[in-house]
Symmetry: C2
């Protein structure tokens, strides 16, 4: 069998860093949500671009599927090798290659996690802002075009990746972008690779844009009587041009989960969690203007996190929302939705989603990056009650249809993977075939993360 | 001849809006810089997406090249039909389709110019920020991934186009992106089309991100003793996180040209022109902090433009730099370079470029979007001395080599067109072949703007 021949060659290439052991296959067959265990045939652990290139040359010659693996924090089953073949574990490529504070950029390998990078950068006065919550790998964040709590201010991976090194399906190595802040030199291959989820190439190096650590930060949490009031406060804040660094919505169920998980005493109401970055004077002004908006919208319990410790507690609580929601119903698994709509439709979209969840009798706290119009329902499902998963999928399909009807997208930040592929045609129409044509042009044998994203 | 058959069909389709008259061909064979007159065989003036689609179906069937035409403000000969065929004049598709202030977005046809859009938006309190200086069409700005004076704050077209409607080579119509602020739903076809210069499809509609008109604006111009001091002031400003809305560099020769063209009395020294956007308090604070930087770097003659009229005069002067430079040497034509480098290399890049220009005995004022590391030499060339054009091309090739050596790009914002195609392989290596593969996949007959950008 031709796969066997490839595996023999890979073993020769990588030695003990190529494994067919069940323990490794099992580890690389798992995911964070409801997708069932999906075993790859083998796992490869490259340490250099040259090794990634050699692996792909071998797999290309023998038609062996290759599915890249990062920090395994994906929520849509991106990293599962659903056609078998090799799980390409990038975690050993975890070096920070070069820090250039004078150019506000850093060069990293794809296995570096965002927390590791920011820890390393601490002394420079700079930081990398994209924050999806999970301690994802930067390669995985690029591959899924990740965003998160700070995107309203600093943008997503789309805005913060300057250049990439990518190994193509046949092992060829290309470099996209440059170290310049912008370029008009031809097709934006960097942007094409961002969000391609390993279906067009394997990212082996990233040049990332850094930002100055703000001189002053202020953060607060405040409660509203209704979802609509909270969302309207966000809209007013945006329209007034108050520069938010973060503005997060959590509903009353998330507030309850937070209280249970963190010992806080938030009122069981919808909340906004906000943060402002700037100088002492500007953050004070921002906070004052935002306070006026909150007051106008009937917000209450406006509590400022004044010290770094208080702020860290606030965002740690927010980042821990997914595990805390899962823990609120022991033994359950999650299905997390991810639509993003124009902000004028956000309150309506959340309200309709809540109604669907209630109608189906599901547990589904809602939270989101409300400044971007992006929100998640965390559907907490009993593993032993398959009807719950069916009903959750139905709620998710209604959400997708709702997002498209409102002019939005079925995935704001989690990506397509296995979970959203069925909505691609509805979202993109004939554009989905264009994606397929690009895929065929760059990976004619279809060995890169097969079964995902494209037709 | 098969072109004749196509032209007969196009005449039937468009009536008087299809022209083979020499006057129209001549008008659509001209450009803003040194490229010689290049006549298309015919000019088509579509008014709807359906007409663009029908035109492409006809041209596709008969292998007739189609080269889109916007406001003709391109500096790299993008819109010249170098393989003949049809010049597709998009200027009649100039409707603002929908303004949605509540979602901070607008939908426009490609022939709308940026000034027309901003005039229309005035009452909404919103504006479209991308400002390349020329009153370009928004379709052309998207096709060349334009940027300009405000990119340091608001980004380029890459950051401000949410969605596109595009007619492909065979006449198929696709929609890319959505009205949501972000998306992770598959390949970023919007980004792929931005900067594709009409080689992958014809943009027939754009959904653009708007920004709130700042409550307060302050602008200033100040002189420095040296290029290095001016650039260092910019670097310090960036590192301090002072949020500039614009920061432009002009050299002593541009200062002289400004004085001659506008009756100003700027010292004949390098200058920075800056603008801050925000609240009264924040712009005052920004100005004060920037003033301290300027003082530290020995800047002088720090003059604030306090009224809107003074500010408008300042930026009108800046936007008029290209015609003013040309007018400084009557009867001349321009060759404008456009490299973008990491900011730490900017002073060196400008100094080396100046030395090349002096060594070649050319007239070449230098100015640029210094916050992005992007600068232009406006080489002002005698039409009747061909050696000047040869020497200018040599200076330009040295600039391209310099940009790449410094980790930058051969074009920060003007695009590839005819002028930069020869540097594409050096900049992108095997990535240029990937661009070619994408081109072949989407336009196998090669009818869209042939001879530009790709191999």
């Amino acid at each position: 069998m031709t796969h066997e021949q490839a595996f023999t060659e890979l073993e020769t290439l990588l030695g003990p860093r190529f494994s067919r052991a069940m323990a490794e296959r099992d580890l690389h067959g798992r995911n964070e949500t409801w997708f069932p265990l999906t075993l790859p045939d083998a796992v490869a652990f490259p340490e250099t671009t040259e090794e990634v290139s050699a692996i792909l040359r071998i797999c290309h010659a023998h038609d062996v599927p290759v599915t890249p693996w990062g920090a395994a924090s994906s929520l849509e089953g991106h990293a599962l090798a659903i056609k078998g073949g090799v799980s390409l574990d990038m975690t050993r490529m975890d070096q920070i290659v070069e820090v250039r504070p004078e150019d506000m950029l850093v060069v990293v390998q794809p296995g570096v996690t965002r927390e590791a990078l920011n820890t390393d950068l601490r002394a420079t006065g700079l930081f990398f802002p994209v924050d999806p919550g999970a301690n994802a790998s930067l390669g995985g964040m690029a591959a899924t075009r990740a965003s998160g709590t700070t995107t309203v201010r600093y943008g997503s991976m789309r805005d913060n990746v300057l250049a990439l090194e990518v190994v193509l399906a046949d092992g060829a190595v290309i470099r996209t972008g440059s170290r310049a802040a912008k370029s008009a030199a031809g097709y934006d291959l960097t942007a094409l690779m961002l969000g391609s989820e390993g279906t067009l190439g394997i990212i082996t190096e990233l040049t990332l844009r850094l930002h100055g650590q703000p001189e002053a930060i202020s953060a607060a949490v405040c409660a509203f009587d209704s979802l609509e009031a909270a969302v309207e406060a966000v809209q007013m804040t945006i329209q007034m041009g108050i520069p938010m660094a973060r503005i997060e919505f959590v509903d009353e169920q998330v507030a309850r989960v937070f209280n249970a998980a963190n010992g806080t005493e938030l009122p069981e109401k919808p909340h906004l969690m906000v943060e402002f970055h700037g100088s002492d004077a500007s953050t004070a002004e921002d906070a004052e203007r935002f306070g006026a908006v909150v007051e106008e919208m009937g917000g209450a319990g406006f509590a400022w996190a004044k010290t770094p410790e208080e702020r860290n507690r606030l965002w740690k609580m927010r980042h821990g929302a997914y595990p805390a929601c899962l823990a609120s119903r022991p033994g359950c698994m999650g299905l997390v939705t991810d639509i993003c709509v124009p902000i004028s439709r956000l309150a309506e979209a959340v309200a309709e989603t809540r109604a669907d969840i209630v109608a189906e009798g599901l547990v589904g706290p809602i939270l989101g990056h409300v400044g971007d119009g992006n929100f998640h329902a965390i559907l907490v499902l009993d593993r032993d009650t398959p009807q719950e998963l069916d009903r959750a999928k139905w709620v998710a399909s209604r959400l997708a249809e709702r997002a498209l009807r409102m002019g939005g997208t079925v995935t704001g930040e989690h990506g397509v993977g296995m979970g959203k592929r069925k909505y691609m045609e509805a979202e993109h129409g004939p554009g989905w075939q264009v994606m397929g044509a690009i895929k065929s042009a760059l990976d004619p044998k279809g060995i890169l993360n097969p079964g995902k994203l494209v037709p």
